[in-house]
Symmetry: C2
Subunit: 194 residues, 2 copies
């Protein structure tokens, strides 16, 4: 997991308000080779979990989830949508999510057709802070009767507590980099020690 | 390109108002193996184009673009964003896009850092109808001084004219399925003959 920490130190930029900008390789411009390394690491950590589906949330989770799927036998990827669309009809599972960066609350939903009781779901996303998006996705999987087989996150902000709260509930959460401190003034980043 | 037509006939659903629902394999649940076939087909058609970057637009274009990149030496993928985000700063290239399905107009933007005059850009998206999103992305690439090396679309609605208008302007547009007629009453789909 050291490779992602190294990349964050090389290309990440710390901004005031505990903002870590990684849009040059993670969530605006995207480094596909890096995503393949992340996928291989999750495959190793969830090897025995019999994962048959990956769930993520639009927009920046989609890229990571799709490359992750190539390490899990090209299993189907489903992404939760943030607004009602004319193109989704029929019954949905939905939950409420508050965005840390955008400071607003919205409904997220997944068509009921794409989550079923037999499914063993790996939930994937780029960031985990307080855990609102991840808890919304877990809620949706549990509504469907499917099993949350694991949680795969690129960058966890450990100091915001969402990750440890999920670990305490018994979920296998595998964050590939856990940031413990961001210092905007000196542009320094401290990671959690193993 | 026949494989995508076959899949549309097998799993697509036609709805009133010229809506073709393909959310079970293309834009809600996503079939990664199918996307790999699409990527290989684009690689064949754009083999001599020296593509070094792929540009798409959130949300459903991202998945196809990322898998496409694996066929183009894992080149970087950039996605245009639809709303201002606190996490994108600095100067951007922007354009206006009207969504056919959502019936609204919004601004799309790309950070200037991620498009440069030397770039040879393949623009990828899931759908092409009147061409508003695609024209917005072309506008953004041209603002940056980069070259539009090709346009790769999964499903073109040929009867809505956006694709032929771009071909007339000299762009190499490679749509993997071109729908000419949708009949909601009988759930039938006619494709353009070669």
């Amino acid at each position: 997991m050291k490779f992602l920490e190294d990349r964050i130190i090389k290309d990440g930029v710390v901004r005031a308000g505990n903002v870590l900008k990684v849009d040059c390789f993670l969530n605006h411009q995207m480094d596909i080779s890096l995503f393949q390394e992340m996928a291989a690491e999750w495959k190793k950590r969830f090897a025995d979990k019999k994962i048959n589906k990956i769930l993520t949330i639009e927009a920046s989770g989609i890229a990571i989830a799709c490359i992750a799927a190539t390490a899990f036998d090209n299993c189907p990827v489903v992404f939760a949508k943030k607004t009602e669309s004319l193109n989704v009809d029929g019954p949905v599972y939905s939950s409420k999510v508050t965005s840390f960066t955008k400071k607003r609350t919205y409904d997220v939903f997944v068509s009921r057709k794409y989550l079923n009781p037999g499914d063993r779901v790996l939930i994937v996303d780029d960031f985990l802070a307080v855990g609102s998006a991840l808890n919304g996705l877990i809620d949706i999987v549990e509504q469907s009767g499917a099993t949350v087989a694991g949680l795969g996150i690129a960058i966890e902000k450990g100091f915001q507590g969402g990750g440890d709260s999920l670990r305490a509930k018994g979920f296998q959460l595998e964050s590939l980099a856990i940031v413990e401190k961001l210092d905007a003034e000196n542009n320094t980043i401290e990671f959690r020690k193993e």
